[in-house]
């Protein structure tokens, strides 16, 4: 199994790189990175990316670059951030790479000069969340959308606005932006959009919306029929326990909210070459295909979209304004507390 994946991955890499001079130069670059990385022996990534993806990448990477141990500190985005902040206060940041849910989480690290500027050739194939100074780039794209359960009365839900219809009273749920980072981005896109704003959330409140902690809680509530519809991420439908549930992904007519989730390298990475090698591997077609199989949009434009979802170009989008969300964070949180308590 692993061998087959390896062969496929090698074939895919060769095919995508082609045999141009540029590709040969890249190969040479990768080869020298690999030689140095082998001496370093290890790479450590701090991340909130799900464990099953991490172990697939680890296997693929080690099949291709033997002799380099891959380690993860895997926790929620908030815990990872708290660890980075605390470690850097203590002056001993232990990770090489960091990959979190959304770009607003990276600004603090950039201000503290914790990140390395690095723009390898893989950047050419990525259009989203490219930090102008090269501190981060999108590694994957999550999609904020509606989840509905036709068996529980959610068949007619096609848009965000539908959730506010009186008929949906007591049948809807959302996650709390005070707990869930991705919800903060989705809600942020809605707060800023004049079609929605806070009046939309007031309507949801009138509809007795159930406020859960995090986005997977919404998936569970909708899939189990506790609620008929909710706002969450598309990827849950692809997880084994939800795949055969009545839950459906509905891309709202107003547009789905893409959340580019950024990947970066720490400036003081203890294993600098291994960090670069792993970074480039994660942005390679092989690693990006793993994402698409798991129902997540790859960051690379030359890797196909997950089955059942339109090509990223075709996806109708409601783009979040990350800078606005970040600068209005405290205001928004206060407004939320006023409306929903907490």
């Amino acid at each position: 199994m692993q061998r087959r994946e390896f062969l496929q991955s090698t074939a895919a890499t060769v095919a995508s790189l082609g045999l141009t001079h540029l590709a040969q130069a890249q190969d040479a670059d990768i080869e020298s990175l690999y030689a140095q990385a082998k001496k370093e022996g290890k790479v450590v990534m701090y991340t909130s990316v799900p464990t099953f993806l991490l172990s697939r990448w680890k296997n693929l990477f080690q099949a291709k670059y033997s002799g380099i141990e891959v380690e993860f500190f895997r926790s929620g985005t908030g815990k990872v951030l708290a660890r980075v902040e605390t470690e850097s206060r203590a002056g001993s940041l232990g990770g090489d790479l960091v990959w979190l849910a959304d770009p607003t989480t990276f600004n603090g690290m950039i201000q503290q000069k914790l990140l390395l500027s690095y723009e390898p050739p893989e950047w050419k194939h990525i259009t989203l969340a490219k930090n102008p100074q090269g501190y981060f780039v999108a590694g994957r794209v999550l999609v904020g959308c509606l989840l509905t359960n036709p068996k529980a009365g959610g068949a007619s839900i096609k848009s965000f606005a539908d959730l506010a219809r009186p008929a949906m009273k007591g049948k809807i749920c959302i996650a709390s932006p005070l707990v869930s980072g991705s919800t903060n981005i989705i809600d942020g896109a809605l707060w800023k959009d004049p079609r929605f704003g806070w009046t939309y959330f007031e309507k949801l409140k009138k509809n007795e919306v159930l406020v859960l902690n995090d986005v997977p809680d919404v998936a569970r509530a909708v899939a189990s029929g506790e609620r008929a519809a909710g706002i969450s991420l598309s990827l849950y439908k692809y997880q084994p326990e939800f795949a055969n549930s009545p839950m459906q992904v509905v891309l709202p007519t107003e547009g789905a909210v893409p959340i580019a989730s950024p990947l970066g390298i720490f400036a003081k990475a203890p294993h600098p070459a291994a960090a670069k090698l792993f970074y480039r591997f994660l942005l390679s077609p092989v690693a990006q295909t793993v994402l698409s199989e798991a129902g997540i949009y790859p960051a690379r434009t030359d890797v196909p979209a997950p089955s059942g979802l339109p090509d990223f170009d075709q996806l109708k989008k409601l783009l979040p304004d990350f800078a606005w969300i970040e600068s209005h964070q405290r205001e928004n949180q206060a407004q939320w507390r006023e409306l929903f308590g907490g």
Binding site: E71, A82, P246
Partner: protein
């Protein structure tokens, strides 16, 4: 013995040093600005912004006080039934009382939601809507009470065995009714344990995160601990705000402890002296069977229902297709069997749990003994400080302990951070206070006559400790080890910050899966973990003489 004593004393000094170091790092985080100057702005903000301190603090107290009372009442009553009455099957109450405590808070809350939510198990099984809401204040109080009955149960059980039954006998001879004997003699006798339980449950509720977070978010109910988590883990991070609140929480814990000890001071608690004491069990008479049916039915329901819900989720093939056997699969367990990660997590959990249960209990003995027997001297003073400190580190959220440990132990003279040892330190810091209260409650009942006699007979202090004090403390030692063991096994709030590759525990693996929306797999991990703990408890019950001692007399 001498080596063990020396190591235990070293551990106590370590506990003190580590706590003070961690506390200092928190103070710095709270008050030191980026430029290195001290700033009271975060404190000012906490004091003036209702949502920061006043609101969450009020909610925490509204939760902690009723839960402490209810859990102590119920747990204490069950302990009395198990230890002092002729309730049929009383010996087997422990595993049932322990079960809701072994289930990690976030999963107990999640099981509760599974049962009581709209269209949940209650409705699926009985066809009518559940009688109470799955979310909100009442749900949190009930779930927390169930979760915490184990503390009073173990403390009171170990205390009641230390009580001299001659006192109750005297009451009966003097013509008191059984009810009056219970109220006027038994309850006052159990007072050290009842006070100790109130303290422990209060502190536990103050620092618990999983239950209020899961059940409180829908009604916007924030406690001090959920607020601390919010500040420390959502962008933009506010670690100084979180540290200020953690320090406030620590001060509250100190204040509550001080109040309780004031109330307690001056009363004579010794009920166990050198005299022969053979306890008879109180006959429940015609109430025996009705009480038995009531207790067993109620306990089975509240202990087995959430565990059953968890097992059911671990077997579910898919959500929303019904809960019947047609929709079950064993594939999550099959995956567990094949996962090297989970085998490693099992080994880590066992090693860390045994290590911290041993270390914590040894520390507890030294602190309790030194603070009660060396009172006015330097060692006694130091032990009293350690006693207070261990209670504060128990009352402070695990996340905060984790942050403080990263600050104190990454690099520098003792780079524990990044190794599994940091987890052992974290667990010992978090849970030694449980051991201290458990052991202190029992030690305060043991009169000094026996030790004085042994001293007259020329035995050294160490010998006295080994031959007289420790055997008399046995039920409390077991109680302490069990409580620390169970709490370590299910610890996640410090672990999810401190774990490094290779040092993950089972509870952490379960938590991560829940967080990824992999509920069925996460539940399977928990079921394995919980079954393991209950098996250890049952095994101890079957083979351990001291456990025998805990439950029987």
């Amino acid at each position: 013995m001498a080596v063990a004593a020396a190591l235990s004393m070293l551990a106590v000094l370590g506990l003190l040093a580590f706590s003070l170091l961690g506390g200092w790092e928190l103070l710095r985080t709270a008050f030191e600005s980026a430029s290195g100057t001290w700033s009271f702005h975060p404190l000012y903000r906490a004091l003036t912004q209702h949502y920061m301190l006043a609101g969450p603090l009020l909610n925490s107290l509204l939760l902690a006080i009723p839960v402490a009372l209810a859990a102590t009442l119920l747990g204490g009553l069950l302990a009395w039934l198990a230890v002092r009455s002729d309730l049929p099957g009383g010996l087997w109450l422990l595993p049932l009382v322990a079960l809701p405590h072994v289930i990690p808070g976030f999963q107990l809350a999640s099981a509760w939601v599974e049962i009581f939510s709209h269209g949940g198990l209650w409705q699926a099984a009985l066809g009518v809507p559940a009688p109470m809401s799955a979310y909100g204040y009442a749900a949190i109080v009930v779930v927390m009470t169930l979760h915490l009955m184990l503390f009073p149960f173990l403390l009171v059980a170990s205390n009641l065995q230390a009580a001299d039954p001659a006192l109750e006998e005297a009451g009966r001879i003097a013509g008191l009714t059984p009810a009056k004997v219970f109220l006027r003699i038994t309850i006052p006798l159990a007072r050290p344990a009842l006070l100790g339980s109130l303290l422990l449950v209060f502190a536990y509720v103050m620092e618990e995160f999983g239950i209020p977070s899961l059940l409180g978010t829908p009604s916007g109910f924030e406690t001090l601990t959920t607020r601390i988590y919010g500040l420390a883990t959502t962008t933009p991070l506010d670690l100084s705000g979180a540290s200020v609140l953690a320090l406030v929480l620590g001060c509250i814990a100190l204040g509550v402890l001080w109040m309780q000890l004031r109330l307690w001071a001056g009363t004579r608690l010794e009920t166990l002296s050198g005299k022969a004491s053979r306890q008879g069990r109180v006959r429940l008479g015609r109430w025996r069977w009705p009480v038995a049916v009531l207790v067993w039915a109620a306990l089975c329901t509240v202990a087995l229902a959430p565990f059953g819900a968890l097992v059911l989720v671990s077997l579910l093939n898919s959500w929303g297709q019904g809960y019947g056997p047609d929709h079950w699969t064993g594939s999550r367990y099959a995956e567990l069997l094949h996962s090297e990660e989970l085998r490693r997590a099992l080994r880590n959990t066992l090693a860390l749990a045994l290590g911290s249960a041993l270390a914590g209990t040894a520390i507890a003995v030294v602190i309790a003994y030194a603070s009660q027997r060396f009172r006015p001297r330097f060692v006694g003073r130091l032990a009293l400080i350690a006693d207070r400190v261990s209670f504060v580190t128990f009352a402070v959220p695990g996340l905060v302990i984790g942050l403080a440990l990263i600050l104190a132990f990454s690099g520098g003279w003792l780079p524990l951070y990044g190794t599994p040892w940091i987890l052992l330190v974290a667990y010992t810091l978090r849970f030694s206070g449980v051991g201290v209260r458990t052991v202190a409650a029992r030690l305060s009942q043991i009169g000094v006559e026996l030790e004085a006699a042994a001293e007259v007979a020329g035995l050294s202090r160490l010998r006295i400790l080994a031959r007289i004090v420790l055997p008399l403390l046995a039920p409390a030692l077991v109680g302490s080890a069990v409580l620390i063991f169970v709490n370590e096994v299910k610890e996640i709030s410090a672990t999810s910050l401190l774990a490094s590759q290779g040092s993950e525990t089972l509870a952490y693996e379960a938590y991560i899966r829940f967080q990824e929306g992999n509920y069925t797999q996460g539940s399977a991990v928990s079921v394995v973990m919980i079954t393991g703990v209950i098996a250890v408890l049952l095994l101890g019950r079957l083979v351990g003489r001291s456990t025998q001692d805990l439950i029987t007399t």
